[in-house]
């Protein structure tokens, strides 16, 4: 009976109506199967990009050498092992985890605020992190008495979280719409940018260079310990999102309907906002400002797979991870021997790609 069901080639969000006498549940099963295939395709893309990312650098290796070094470290030359395991692997994995974290954070911000413009970047969380980092870089001011190595990321994290909480508290005020929240986010972006400019004005030449470099975002700051923290936050947040997959999908039907279907909308929104703030703030505090992923990753996922969170969430994570991993590849390929700041690459590649997707898409994503 499945063979009677035709799915549209152009979009996976919809399928054609079932043929006369065919129950719609078979078409639904076919649609779910197709979405699993898309997820598998996205995973393969990510895997390919990840391997290429490991191949590229001042010394170029073949895919076979990379796979040998990964699967049998003791069996390859020491130089190859050190380059892959100690230098490139943390950076390549950081690209994957950061991309996935930012995309999931963006996806859930868009879901709970019911607005396609929501992302860590547009809500001012990234700008807040930059300001916190700049405080440490320019004045050496740490918001917590901790080891000097972690002053910058901790400052970035604390200011980003405080901003996220401020956004949440204000968004709960009476009469505040999701549009107001986005406007508030834009106002915060301008405020933190102005404060950042003020810090740069007072900064020494050396500190100014450090601030600018941090703001451009760089995966080369990655280390195994930073990767472990970022991955830990990402992995620990997933079960919560998975547990609320049905409720989060239902939020998109509107607050009244979601509440009527038994969902505690207010509480869910608070919990998700806190979690996504953490998810966005941690990677940004380690690798600097990386815009665009949190906005584009979910949009691509939504276009190819729809908004059923069981598929949308992993698709967003895979799309974000693949984009940042591919950006890492490009940042190393443009000029041999030179690694471009990652946020420049994500914007330069991502924007035209995103526009082409929007213009060629026959279905509205929002």
């Amino acid at each position: 009976m499945n063979s009677q069901v035709n799915l549209q080639v152009s979009s996976t969000v919809t399928a054609t109506a079932p043929a006369q006498g065919t129950e719609a549940r078979f078409a639904y099963r076919a649609l779910s199967f197709r979405r699993r295939l898309i997820l598998a395709g996205l995973f393969c893309l990510l895997l390919a990009s990840f391997v290429v990312d490991l191949m590229l650098g001042p010394a170029r290796y073949s895919a076979t050498q990379v796979l040998d070094a990964l699967l049998d470290p003791a069996g390859v030359p020491a130089a190859l092992r050190v380059v892959i395991w100690d230098i490139r692997l943390p950076v390549a994995l950081m690209a994957v985890v950061t991309g996935a974290s930012l995309a999931v954070a963006g996806a859930q911000m868009q879901t709970i605020l019911n607005n396609p413009l929501a992302s860590p970047f547009t809500l001012g969380i990234s700008a807040a992190a930059s300001f916190g980092a700049a405080l440490a870089l320019v004045f050496g001011v740490g918001l917590l008495p901790i080891a000097a190595d972690y002053i910058v990321p901790i400052n970035a994290f604390l200011v980003a979280m405080a901003t996220a909480l401020l956004i949440h508290v204000l968004s709960q005020s009476r009469g505040v719409t999701t549009e107001t929240v986005i406007l508030l986010g834009i106002a915060l972006v301008f405020t933190f940018n102005a404060l950042l400019a003020l810090l740069q004005f007072f900064a020494s030449e050396q500190a100014l260079g450090a601030v600018v470099f941090w703001m451009m975002g760089s995966l080369t700051k990655a280390s195994w310990s930073k990767l472990a923290i970022t991955t830990g936050v990402f992995v620990l947040s997933l079960p919560f999102f998975f547990r609320h997959a049905w409720a989060l999908t239902t939020l998109r039907l509107g607050d009244d309907k979601a509440a009527s279907f038994g969902i505690n909308v207010r509480r869910l929104r608070l919990e998700i906002m806190l979690l996504v703030s953490l998810l966005a703030a941690v990677p940004v505090s380690f690798v600097g400002t990386i815009g665009f992923i949190g906005l584009v990753g979910p949009h691509i996922a939504r276009m190819v797979i729809g908004e059923d969170q069981r598929f949308f969430l992993p698709a967003s994570a895979l799309a974000g991870a693949a984009i940042l991993s591919a950006s890492s590849v490009v940042s190393k390929s443009l000029i041999p021997g030179l690694i471009f700041p990652i946020s420049i690459v994500t914007a330069l590649i991502g924007v035209p790609f995103f526009f082409s997707l929007i213009m060629s898409s026959r279905k509205r994503a929002w």
């Binding site: 969000v13 079932p18 649609l31 009476r174 009527s260 279907f261 038994g262």
Partner: protein
């Protein structure tokens, strides 16, 4: 069988009181109660209060249990007036969401059959895999009704569910709601602006005006020219058609007559 009773129920938004002192006798499953009244009479607020979606004064009891304000009751399902959404979901998925909350990620055949049955009942199988954003206003209303029916609630609160439907669809949907209410012993509260539709399909009529309940009872007992003048400000005759059914004929505005 489910029952619903309201005692001194009121709703206010800030300092603005939209509903106060609503008392009803026990309304029982198997009945269709049409809630009528002018715009902003408090019909939606009453539904939201019964569903537990807004805070308020007084007591709402479902089958003898007082409901916790601010928390939805699984047994009561509210269909809001505004059903426009921009979610990238199919109609089929949106109906699944109506009853699939929490629990497993996998969807059983029984759950899918439940959706198929609702689609068949409303004759909207052809919409199953259309995106929600592609639907017309009337189709959106049908899908929303499908979602509410799929929940199989004991109390169904339908807020102007037929306002965007053509005459044929209005008749079909209201007939279906009436049949299901009787078959499943479900209590249906439905707000409709077309008073003749309300009189035709409802077992009882509840009239709201001036933020209060002004009448509740069988259609032919309570719908009178005086009530219509008070609630809607119109001059109207009430005729009784075949089958003992009252029918309202509006002749003009009370204001113009004065």
């Amino acid at each position: 069988m489910v029952s619903l009773a309201l005692k001194g129920v009121g709703v206010s938004y800030g300092r603005r009181m939209v509903l106060q002192g609503v008392d009803t006798p026990e309304l029982r499953g198997g009945e269709v109660v049409a809630v009528i009244g002018a715009n902003a009479a408090g019909k939606s607020s009453l539904f939201r209060r019964i569903a537990g979606l807004v805070l308020g004064t007084g007591q709402v009891s479902i089958s003898g249990n007082s409901i916790v304000a601010g928390r939805a009751r699984p047994s009561a399902c509210y269909l809001p007036q505004d059903t426009a959404v921009n979610a990238v979901l199919t109609v089929y998925e949106s109906i699944l969401l109506a009853f699939k909350q929490g629990g497993s990620w996998s969807v059983s055949d029984a759950e899918l059959r439940r959706i198929d049955a609702v689609l068949r009942e409303l004759e909207i199988e052809d919409l199953a895999f259309r995106g929600l954003g592609e639907l017309s206003g009337g189709q959106r209303q049908l899908v929303s009704i499908a979602q509410t029916l799929a929940r199989e609630p004991d109390i169904l609160l339908l807020d102007e569910p037929t306002s965007a439907l053509d005459l044929h669809r209005q008749f079909e949907v209201l007939s279906l709601v009436r049949r299901l209410a009787h078959e499943r012993r479900m209590l249906v509260l439905i707000s409709i602006h077309d008073i003749n539709q309300a009189l035709r399909f409802a077992d009882k009529v509840m009239v709201l005006a001036h933020s209060r309940l002004v009448a509740l009872g069988a259609p032919r007992e309570i719908v009178t020219p005086a009530l219509l003048a008070d609630v809607y400000g119109v001059r109207a005759r009430v005729e009784v058609l075949d089958g003992d059914q009252p029918h309202v004929i509006v002749e003009g505005s009370v204001k113009h007559a004065a």
